[in-house]
Amino acid sequence: MGDLNDIKKKRGIGHLDSPKMPFDYFNREYGTVPRDTKRAPFQWVSEVAYKNVHRIVSRGYDTTELMEEGYGVVDVLFVDYQARIPLIEEEQMLNYVMILALEDGLSPPAAMSRIVARTKTFLTQAAAASILAFGHAYGAYSAFGNRLEKYLKKADAEKLSLAEAAARLIKDWAAKEPESLGVSNLMLKDPAAKRMIARAEKLGVAGKYIGFMKEIVKAAQNQSKEPVDLDMLGATGAVMMDLGFSAEATWAILAVTRALAAGAHYIEEIERNPYMRLGEALTPKEDYDGPADRPVPPLKDRAKVARSGICKSVDEWAKAREERKKLVGSGYAVVEEIEDPSKKSGIKKVGKL
């Protein structure tokens, strides 16, 4: 491909021959990368499941054999996520949790499913959209569960009682992330969360997470000026972790459980309402509180009316940033830290030639 590079070099391409470039652009090769024969070829590595022409095997158990032996869909969740057959009481408890997680009225997952449904999609698209509604507030299982783990470890390491660890957790997080505590004012009149804990205790599956959650509730009640109590996040999160599910597994299982009902919301939406076309939905002016209507300047006046976004000094930048925060929807008022876990994982033991 030397010829092509020569032709391009002679013609020049924008700034690509700039001496500021850290490379000689016209000396870079074309074509795809040859197969790597020094390493093992790619395969789908899995600890979860495999299949061949004749069978599907999850964690060593043939899934058809599992069903034939009288296990069911809820048992397979233990197999898939924990590589074990659950005790009967554990299976009963997970059924209980999933019934409660199935339906939640017109909450975000149902709304997502219905909004997507109205644009005329497949049911699967709408159900999938409902899963996306399980963010760190509505579906705070990851933050909630990992925090429980962290403070239980802290209690061990620092020889704190569960009550002390719970008090510290509430002190550290009640103001910062109230949406993921598992205790709130959401279920002061609804006994469902407390009944779930009582059922776990009755079935003998309650363990350290439920024990700790109870202390968290007490600590929150002591520290809060408003009445608060165990909520559905606290109950389902603690029970799921006592059933052996990780915080992330809990998140996944309950989001999918809810999506099974989001499908019914999709169906009802299209049974009862017409599809919505592009441009059909209006946004009333009374709901608008942005800049007042103004004339679009003629393009020839652009240089006169345009405002630069460049900040030449840090002071200028800081001032502009504060100003920009005032424009709702610009993103300046939101800080979302995204971790990069890429260096922390990898399967070094798999694939050596």
Partner: protein, 298 residues
Amino acid sequence: MDRDPVLPRKTAISYKTEEKTVMRGYNLSDLAEEGYSFCDALFVLYQGRIPPEAEEKMLKYEMGVFLEHSMSPSAVAAIGVSAGRPNLPCAIAAAVSTFGGVHGPGAAHGYMLNKYLERAHREGKTPEEMARTLVDEYMDAEKPVMGMGQPQHIDSDPRAEPIHVKQEDLELEGVYLKFQRELERHFHERRKREGRSRVGVNVVGSGNTALMEIGFSPMAGWCLGSVCRGWSCAAHALFNMKKGRAWGASRNEPMVQMIDLSMIKYVGPEDRVVPKQEERQEYARKQKEEGEYKKWAI
């Protein structure tokens, strides 16, 4: 605190107050307290009724056997999305979204059965007679018969026949199973007669037959199957997020990764020069006239 519904709607599915959540008339907490199973709750949700034990068992079996399918398009989507390390629900949503016209088309199979059963009703035929008509019409038109064949389980889908047998064992044989069994029998017979290889029933053909027999609509059946697969895909995504290498291209892994550069096989137009803006109009006109680009347009 604003506790209004996210979307104001009239709904016959559920209501939620400060005191309770009620689905199709049943308080969810009471349903769980009474010892009903999650599958029972799905009957309440989609059919507004408590099912007999045998029907609950059938659903438990069907969803259980469908839940995990190792590497299929849905798991691949979940793993692919997880490579960028987004929030876990993104990987699960991607997995569920793969269910379309080919991967687990439960609703389409259901609609096909319903269409021919309606015809049987109209024309005074038995389900068996109409099943044979379906096979002949589809095969004469060279259209694939929905619910038959699986690209990986070429020697009979390990889930499919056992679902039929389970349905029979549970004495849940109705019009759908009669229809589907005859459809399969006639399909096999005709392929044999034509000297073609045997193509077995797949999990949609048998599983969806069972789901419809126990009262689920094609759409509800599709939801139960495709969404329940989300559970296993989440497990595959989680495994990769916790133990696999992010991005899927590291050259430090002993095995070539999923999107290693060497995995690309390019078969598109050859490398070429980008025209200058002053050449553009003439170049573009010629390109359009010659029409070679149409070979690549998608």
